[in-house]
């Protein structure tokens, strides 16, 4: 059995000339909580849909829970709980009817959990799905995914429309009933604070490619923001430099590792080091994907001295 819950090799999905997913290599370890991050249009939802057979890949290959997405889709779908980005289900059915409809497909379905989550999330179980608010629709999608006894949960924008109390409950349920049971959670989200809490792996996608895939702990231990000052900034170069920003005489450099060495180099070039700070996931995300940074987005490298 593969120790990866999701594994893709140069996966690609084109829509005409649009390369939504463009040579994606994902490695999602079993039992991990993997935060799949990217800006709008980066290719997150297309990736998710391709992994679950809702779209056919243009090229490349992928395995989910060890099963090939082209050959063994049924095996994948029976073991995967999915909360889609657009929370659509049959509008004319009530949540209670949707539960009855869904439970037959999943041998590990738990009625006990369904009852518990319906109460916990305060879901109106006898109102037609089409009449529900976005928040309540989202909750119903979660209930259906969480009760399957799935080995893998794929959650696309899980907290959209949810109030902070329900989001907090959802996080608790995910940790308590899924992560603690060794199940894998693949979570695509913009809510970086949530991801930072519960994820242990993150992948950042941009233009259909992975910019960074690492343990969250690697970011916490090795990524640093170096704030420095100088009359004229020197030209610097390091393979670990992720991004740099300047405001007047002040510079900040985001480095992926060896921050002390980088700071020493800056010092040797006459800069004053103000501080070296640990960074949050949000800062790394912005550093990698923001277009205004003077180094090439996502490509650690050289910054030319300003003219």
């Amino acid at each position: 059995m593969s120790d990866l819950a999701i594994h893709t090799q140069s996966l690609a999905k084109f829509f005409g000339k649009t390369r939504a997913v463009d040579g994606l290599d994902l490695r999602v370890p079993r039992g991990s909580v993997y935060g799949f991050l990217g800006r709008n249009g980066a290719g997150k939802t297309t990736t998710v849909k391709t992994l679950l057979g809702l779209l056919r890949p243009t090229a490349g290959s992928a395995q989910v829970l060890g099963y090939d997405i082209r050959r063994d889709l049924i095996a994948i779908l029976g073991r995967t709980g999915f909360v889609p980005e657009n929370k659509t289900l049959f509008d004319s059915l009530t949540p209670a009817q949707l539960v009855r409809f869904n439970r037959g497909y999943f041998p590990n379905w738990s009625d006990e959990l369904a009852a518990r989550y319906a109460e916990l999330f305060e879901i109106p179980m006898h109102v037609r799905f089409g009449k529900l608010s976005l928040g309540n629709k989202t909750k119903v999608c979660h209930l259906l995914a969480l009760c399957q006894g799935a080995e893998l949960l794929v959650l696309d924008e899980p907290s959209v429309g949810l109030d902070p109390v329900i989001t907090d409950l959802l996080l608790r349920v995910l940790v308590e009933d899924h992560v603690s049971e060794g199940r894998t959670v693949f979570l695509s989200s913009h809510q970086l604070a949530e991801v930072e809490r519960i994820a242990d792996w993150v992948g950042i996608i941009e233009n259909g490619k992975i910019l960074l895939e690492t343990r969250l702990e690697d970011i916490r231990q090795n990524y640093r923001l170096i704030r420095a000052a100088a009359e004229t900034a020197p030209s610097v170069s390091s393979p670990h430099l992720v991004a740099a920003k300047r405001l007047e005489n002040f510079w900040s450099y985001l480095v992926a590792r060896d921050a002390e060495d980088f700071a020493a180099m800056l010092r040797a070039k006459g800069m004053t080091i103000l501080e070296i700070l640990p960074v949050s996931l949000g800062e790394v995300f912005l550093g990698l994907t923001r277009k205004e940074v003077p180094c090439i987005s996502g490509k650690p490298g050289t910054i030319p001295a300003p003219a």
Binding site: R172, V179, S180, A193, I198, D200, R220, S280, E283
Partner: protein, 128 residues
């Protein structure tokens, strides 16, 4: 015990857990032999990954702050970690280095830095 996690600080969550447990012990809120919440409970309470809590507990055990009974939970250890002095010093060295770097950067005289550390030690010592 109740902990509070701040994800925007950039400080690793496991270090926040470790720090708050150590602080609670230093302040007398957790006493010798008292049990910490099991890893899963603590993770669910804090809404953080169980691996993160497990790592914090492991580090606390390595530091002699808590002891783990196989299959029986995690307890606040007997007061003084029985470590060799050289090992204790080895653990503090990175912090000392950081303090030295910062002090040099700020061009603070050594005497003031020593006084600062003594002041901090004194403040904690009163509570012991």
């Amino acid at each position: 015990m109740l902990l509070s996690i701040n994800t925007s600080s950039g400080l690793p969550v496991y270090l926040q857990i470790e720090g708050q447990v150590k602080q609670a012990i230093a302040a007398g809120a957790l006493t010798q032999g008292q049990a910490l919440l099991p890893v899963r409970r603590m993770a669910a309470e804090l809404r953080v990954n169980p691996n993160t809590v497990a790592k914090a507990y492991q580090n606390l055990e390595r530091d002699g702050v808590v002891r783990t009974v196989p299959g029986g939970g995690t307890y606040v250890a007997d007061s003084s970690p029985g470590l060799l002095k050289s090992e204790k010093l080895r653990r503090l060295r990175p912090l000392a280095h950081q303090l030295a770097v910062e002090s040099l950067q700020l061009r603070l005289p050594t005497g003031d830095v020593v006084k600062l550390v003594e002041g901090e030690l004194g403040g904690l010592g009163e509570k012991r």
